[in-house]
Symmetry: C2
Subunit: 205 residues, 2 copies
DNA sequence: GTCTATATACGGATAGAC
DNA sequence: GTCTATCCGTATATAGAC
């Protein structure tokens, strides 16, 4: 699931750390809790990973890789239309986040807290702007098929409508008095509405 | 700005705590840093507020009140149409968050971390569902003027499209290589697009 | 009310036996 | 590699003088 590490204990630590860090955050996480979660001794953590910070960085970079890796390839698929990409992206991302509901808040937090540390290690300037998806949108706009709009606005709209509900899930559930089944249904609707709302808007030239 | 507290020192503490907690989070914040920021001694913090936790709770509840108080009245305005409410809400919220960019992440974090503590203190079940705005949407749908859609979906769409960009601001700025002026322009566009996208969708029966 | 000094607790990290 | 015991820095909290 997480890594191709050789050792079984190391693997257990990574998975435990993944859970604890995502739930409690970098500052809130406790080495003791990670050890307990992994079913091992506290000092083992220091044996495998030098200290809390280096363990955290490992987990964080894995999380980022998940976050990006599940998404970027889809935007560079040369065999789908931009409409299909929007549809695929939204559906796929929703499925992904259903399995990792804590990931967005975890990643956003850390980037806000230590932006330099993050941006120094990861070159993301050109990761989006030159995707097939962005080119398709620009071309379609130039042909007058869709509104003229900065592709980044389209992308942020997709992201916002799917990611934010996961971030605000506890509030939404409470405000709307949702059961788990209500919530599932709500997110199914959300996926459909988000697709419709964006494609609908773009195509109304 | 923050509270109607009598004492000047108390006021300085509250404002300092507000900044530090929002920036560093509950676990990451340091009493020393709050004291420095307030220009006072560390032990003063304990004199005015018993301990870190009670100080935090005070700040958090104020933040929540800001968050809600700036929004709910607008949805209960009996003199505006639902279209105007959508427009007002989005514009106002954007202005508000421009001044308090750290608020959403701060609030979401805390609610995710200690949901019970929060929900026990604040009754929010009925805060939205019976607003004038929701009634207007339901009525319009019944008259066949707009699509039939759960009002909560409309609300979450509004919120998502404006709040999420603030949460993801560092990433967006980096990915799109935005200057500050670019960012401002981007958010102006976002406000306009968000309004259009929602009203456009609803009215296309 | 405000300060200095200090107690106390906690959590990360290390030493060293096995 | 894994454990127990322990160290030590840091952060919260309190005591007590002024």
């Amino acid at each position: 699931m997480l890594d191709n590490s050789s050792n079984k204990t190391e693997q257990q630590i990574l998975e435990a750390a993944y859970r604890v860090f995502q739930k409690k955050g970098r500052a809130g996480a406790r080495m003791q809790e990670i050890a307990d979660e992994a079913g091992i001794n506290k000092s083992m953590l220091h044996y495998y990973f030098r200290n809390k910070d280096s363990l955290f960085r490992k987990i964080f970079m894995q999380s980022i890789a998940e976050f990006l890796g599940s998404v970027i390839p889809m935007l560079n698929n040369v065999e789908t239309t931009w409409q299909e990409k929007i549809s695929d992206f939204i559906a796929h991302y929703n499925t992904f986040l259903t399995k990792r509901p804590d990931l967005p808040l975890f990643v956003m937090n850390e980037i806000n807290q230590h932006p330099d540390e993050f941006f120094n290690q990861l070159q993301i300037e050109n990761i989006l702007m030159h995707t097939v998806f962005f080119n398709q949108l620009s071309a379609a706009a130039e042909r007058g098929e869709i509104r003229t709009i900065h592709p980044i606005q389209v992308f942020v709209t997709m992201l916002s409508n799917i990611v934010f509900p996961f971030i605000a899930a506890p509030i939404i559930k409470k405000v709307a008095a949702f059961t788990d089944s209500n919530w599932e249904h709500f997110m199914e609707d959300r996926v459909r509405i988000t697709k419709e709302i964006i494609i609908n808007y773009l195509e109304k030239v």
